[in-house]
């Protein structure tokens, strides 16, 4: 671990004032500290944002506003979240372990790094870690890697469960800028595709801070989160699906289906949602949705199985959500 300076401001303004090139915000630290120990990330200053009062969950115009430092445990246990957004609660509880969820925060979860093992191995090339060095995962061992949204420079997967549910819930990210101004951006547009710059993962500008995630009023009461993994707990998703649906008169009136374990970012495909919306549920429809979802999939020999697995899981999730 490289020696670093630690600051613990008490106001958001002072935190924003302290941030500079080479500095990093830290909240729960469940990912950043691991990365710092390995010197995959080596900030010279660490600014602790856990005491800025950003840990509240509030009513917000029919929805909720979740402060950036609300822990995963608190968010999963929140009564409104459990009632109105059960898909989020279930996604959170499917992730990590109890100890990690007690520390990990909402903003940190959105920004967590890929679990590509080559990204963590500083003895191998990685375009995300060291731009321009190449990608060791391509031509190497892939399993927890993406099959959608990849590029010839990077196949890294976004590992979050929480963000998958938030994608299905049309979350909006509230961002504070260095000058104190606030801007909002749909989670859909928050993440970038790797293309030829896999080091750029989100639209956050230098010096910006996530203040909150906002969830609009729930658009569907039929909410399902399912996660397939290599062991029963404490494993990243091979595939996960968060679905928010509504039914009217036997037809799907709202469909929002998001995917984990397969995309370079928490994945959602408008064409899948459009295909489902207005239709009567049927096995054929769900199979068609799976075909549409995978139309541009680029699996490797280690991730080939995700195509079929996702399609099977999608069928099961949609069946459950529409019954």
């Amino acid at each position: 671990m490289r020696p670093f300076e630690y600051q613990r401001p008490t106001t958001t303004d002072s935190a924003l004032a302290a941030i500079a090139p080479g500095a990093a915000f830290i909240a729960g630290g469940t990912n950043l500290i691991d990365l710092m120990k390995l010197e995959v990330m080596a900030p010279d200053t660490v600014i602790d944002i856990s005491r800025l009062g950003m840990d509240g969950i509030e009513e917000d115009d029919g929805g909720v506003r979740i402060g950036a430092t609300v822990t995963n445990s608190d968010l999963a246990a929140d009564r409104r979240v459990r009632r109105d957004y059960p898909v989020l609660s279930r996604a959170l509880l499917a992730g990590a372990s109890g100890q990690l969820r007690n520390k990990a925060t909402t903003g940190g979860n959105l920004l967590q790094k890929t679990r590509c093992p080559y990204f963590y191995d500083t003895d191998t090339p990685c375009n995300k870690r060291e731009p321009g060095t190449g990608c060791a995962a391509i031509g190497g061992e892939q399993r927890n890697h993406a099959i959608l949204g990849t590029s010839e420079h990077c196949v890294a997967l976004h590992p979050s469960d929480m963000a998958v549910a938030m994608r299905a819930l049309d979350a909006v990210v509230e961002i504070r800028g260095a000058g104190g101004e606030t801007r909002e951006i749909d989670l859909e547009k928050f993440y970038l595709l790797p293309e030829d710059r896999p080091q750029d993962e989100t639209v956050l500008e230098p010096g910006e801070l996530i203040a909150a995630a906002r969830l609009p009023a729930p658009k569907g009461t039929r909410q399902v989160y399912r996660k397939v993994r290599d062991r029963a707990s404490y494993a990243f998703a091979l595939v996960s699906i968060g679905a928010v649906l509504e039914m009217e008169a036997g037809r799907i009136s709202h469909a929002a289906v998001a995917f984990g374990g397969i995309g370079v970012k928490p994945w959602r495909d408008g064409a899948v949602d459009d295909l489902l919306t207005g239709e009567e549920p049927s096995e054929g429809l769900f199979e068609q949705a799976g075909e549409v979802l995978m139309r541009d999939a680029r699996p490797s020999d280690g991730t080939e199985f995700k195509v079929g697995l996702t399609q099977r899981l999608l069928k099961a999730v949609l069946t459950e959500a529409t019954q």
């Binding site: 671990m1 003895d123 190497g140 061992e141 029963a232 494993a235 079929g308 099977r312």
Partner: protein, 728 residues
């Protein structure tokens, strides 16, 4: 004086059954249990001698000639004390019982991840930062890393043929010819390998995470170029070993070399990422099983061929066929082990080397034969229990497979099972059950121990280790039983080469070997006490600190008087090994759910019935069996070291990527012991138990998967992708 015993024949006295204290066979608390719960048991990295400094191992990022361009720059970094590039730094961990560790050099990396330097600094953090800063350059060479891509060696002594297997296969009414694979695995002990070395200018004292200290001392001495008398090793508590701590590893030599160079105590803790690379792993295997039988299910042909791997020059090869020599008999047989020389990290003994993967796969193949013949899998096994050792023709010392099969079958409710696969469904889940037999060779190895009786308090001493198995409590029980003392009056001191050399922990031989040495030491004291009383040792009764002979009853402390009694015991294997075949047996049962949508497999319950000689302490014995069964879950469902296809390096070298079973993966586990007093197992009739329960456990799970969903998996572990592929 010493009471020595060579085990040449049976012991039918069964003395433990005629002693009076009655503490053997009971669930006595471990004396070290509370210390561990409270964090007071100090492990190798948990002592802090004055002036302690910290070393971090630096790994080779490739295979080939090694150089470090910025050595001097790193030496000049803040708080850095040394960058050690000593040729003595260990390249490959010593194999179990190696007793030597010749210099291997650091100029060439044989595998990715090999330690090539140690950076020492005043603080752990500074050392770690400097270790990252050290640039290791590799002048790379082409090296094979895929065991399937090289021509394997076929050592002559690893081939055993008899009759005509091909012919038997052709003519048999039923036969199978199948290929299974098992994955490269890691011991994954909770305590990472660690060493704290102190050099006083004369003696090197090392606190290590080690299993077999008498060998470890010689290995470290050999490595350092010191006579063994100038090396002392302490390992009073070890946080799991599973074979990976049998021989010294890189941390030990590096800490010792640095301590001697700097004249400061040096601690080296392997990072978890090192643990996956620099200690021995379990070889991946490819196993071809051929079985032929008559219409009654009696085996006429048996073939077991295994491909394993290791680094060039390493002598160990995973002894996959170890139980195949005696588990089942067939007139026509072909057993052969092939060894691929590849440049992945070294392989070595990992929990039940040989049977863990060999029996597991063989028992899955037997299940295939049972399905093919339509004979119940238990019945098929019962019909094939050999009368005598099919390999050598000698009798079995004891053979309780039938008893465990019947016991387990009854307790599990096997008879209620519909043998047809794919019959029981709950929602998305196919439910099925499977079973497998367990076989494991039984060993006794040379061991010594000493007991000192002072008043009515006894102290047991041996360099034996307790790696979590319960050595402390069973030696306490053995000494208490033979000396007639409450267990609270017996102190046990282990894990110090200053004590008599025990067996060390490995091969499940600790309880029988060192336990017998403790027994003999106690017997020597009994004889001395009897002499003082003027009677034969067997005529007196020792109980609760009193000695009774005839109508005379005296406090033990009075008989001992002012001076202390000392007894020394030594046991070694003898002709018994040639006269009989000795092994332990058991039966595994598992119920699993296979998700038809996702391919996930979850074990719903497991039951094991085992026979492993006299059970000294049912609680620690059961705990050992739980561990083995959980290993079986890991082997069957989750554990796999992934090697990069280009350079063989371990890709998933942490606990997020290498999936040991977590609590949610482990259902209720039922363990039962079938009584066995094997006369050939020494005066205590104690046999090895630790490893038996892993042997075959994963096979029961695989067989249950087939029964559940009708798909036969032949690649371990059965991850969802593999299950889905088999389902479709």
């Amino acid at each position: 004086m010493s009471l020595d015993l060579k085990i040449d024949g049976p012991d039918r006295e069964h003395r433990p059954d005629h002693l009076a204290q009655n503490v053997l066979g009971h669930e006595i608390d471990r004396p070290d249990g509370w210390l561990k719960v409270k964090g007071e048991a100090t492990y190798a990295a948990e002592t802090f001698p004055e002036g302690l400094v910290h070393g971090i191992l630096v790994r080779a990022p490739g295979i080939g000639r090694v150089s470090c361009a910025n050595l001097e720059d790193v030496r000049n970094m803040p708080e850095v004390l040394a960058v050690v590039r000593d040729e003595r730094l260990l390249r490959n961990a010593a194999q179990g019982g190696a007793n030597e560790a010749p210099v291997q050099g650091v100029d060439t990396a044989e595998y990715v991840g090999q330690p090539v330097a140690l950076v020492v600094a005043e603080t752990f953090e500074a050392a770690r930062h400097a270790a990252v800063a050290l640039t290791v350059e590799i002048d790379g060479v082409e090296a094979p890393v895929d065991p399937e891509a090289v021509v394997p060696e076929e050592p002559d002594n690893q081939i055993s043929t008899r009759g005509d297997l091909d012919g038997a296969m052709r003519h048999a009414p039923y036969s199978i010819d199948v290929v299974y694979t098992t994955a490269s695995m890691n011991s994954a002990a909770m305590e990472p390998h660690a060493a704290t070395a102190v050099w006083d200018g004369e003696v090197l004292t090392l606190r290590g995470a080690l299993q077999m200290l008498k060998f470890n001392r010689n290995e470290l001495a050999d490595s350092l170029g010191l006579p063994p008398e100038r090396v002392r090793i302490l390992a009073p508590y070890v946080g799991g070993g599973f074979g990976s701590k049998l021989g010294i590893s890189a941390d030990c030599v590096a800490a010792a070399v640095a301590a001697m160079e700097l004249n400061r105590p040096v601690r080296v803790v392997q990072h978890r990422r090192d643990v996956f690379e620099v200690n021995v792993r379990r070889s991946e295997t490819r196993q071809r099983i051929r079985l032929a039988c008559d219409t009654q299910g009696r085996l006429t042909g048996l073939g077991h061929e295994a491909l394993v791997s290791n680094l060039p020059k390493e002598e160990f090869f995973e002894p996959v066929l170890q139980a195949s020599y005696f588990a089942y008999a067939a007139a026509n047989r072909d057993l052969r082990l092939k060894a691929a020389r590849i440049n992945r990290p070294a392989t070595g003994s990992v929990r039940a080397p040989g049977e863990a993967v060999g029996v597991t796969v063989f028992e899955a193949a037997i299940d295939e034969l049972a399905v093919k013949t339509g004979i119940d899998p238990i019945e098929l096994r019962l019909r094939n229990i050999p009368e005598k050792d099919p390999d050598t023709g000698v009798p079995f010392s004891s053979h309780r497979l039938e008893a465990t099969l019947k016991d387990g079958s009854e307790r599990f409710g096997w008879n209620e099972r519909d043998p047809a696969p794919r019959q029981r469904r709950e929602g998305e889940w196919w439910i099925g059950t499977g079973m497998a037999a367990a076989f494991r060779v039984n060993m006794i190895t040379p061991a010594e121990a000493r007991i000192t009786l002072d008043g009515d308090r006894a102290t047991v001493e041996s360099d034996m280790t307790d790696i979590g198995t319960g050595s402390y409590v069973i030696f306490q029980q053995i000494a208490a039983e033979i000396l007639g003392l409450p267990t609270g009056k017996v102190d046990v001191r282990l894990g110090d080469t200053a004590y008599p050399p025990g067996s060390g922990s490995g091969g499940s031989f600790g309880a029988a070997s060192t336990g017998t040495a403790v027994w003999l030491a106690g017997m020597e004291i009994r004889r001395a006490l009897a002499e003082r009383l003027g009677c034969d040792e067997s005529e007196m009764t020792l109980r609760d600190g009193y000695v009774t002979h005839g109508n005379r009853r005296v406090p033990l402390a009075d008989l001992v008087g002012g001076g202390a009694f000392s007894g020394h015991g030594r046991v070694e294997p003898g002709d018994a090994q040639e006269k009989v075949r000795q092994a332990t047996y058991g039966a595994h049962f598992a119920e699993v759910g296979v998700n038809d949508v996702t391919g996930e497999v979850r074990v719903r319950r497991m039951l094991g019935s085992f026979s492993a000689g006299r059970i000294l302490n049912p609680r620690t014995a059961r705990s050992q069996c739980h561990g083995g069964m959980i290993w079986g879950i890991g082997m069957a469902l989750t554990e796999e070291m992934t090697h990069d296809r280009r350079d063989g390096h371990v890709v998933n070298r942490d606990f997020a990527g290498y999936h040991v079973p977590v609590n949610a993966d482990v259902p209720p586990l039922d363990v039962y012991f079938v009584e066995e007093l094997d006369d050939w197992a020494g005066p205590l009739q104690v046999k090895g138990i630790g490893e038996l329960s892993i042997c075959g456990s994963g096979g029961a799970i695989f067989n249950a998967i087939h029964h559940a969903c009708g798909a036969r998996l032949r690649d371990f572990p059965a991850t969802p992708d593999r299950v889905l592929a088999a389902l479709s």
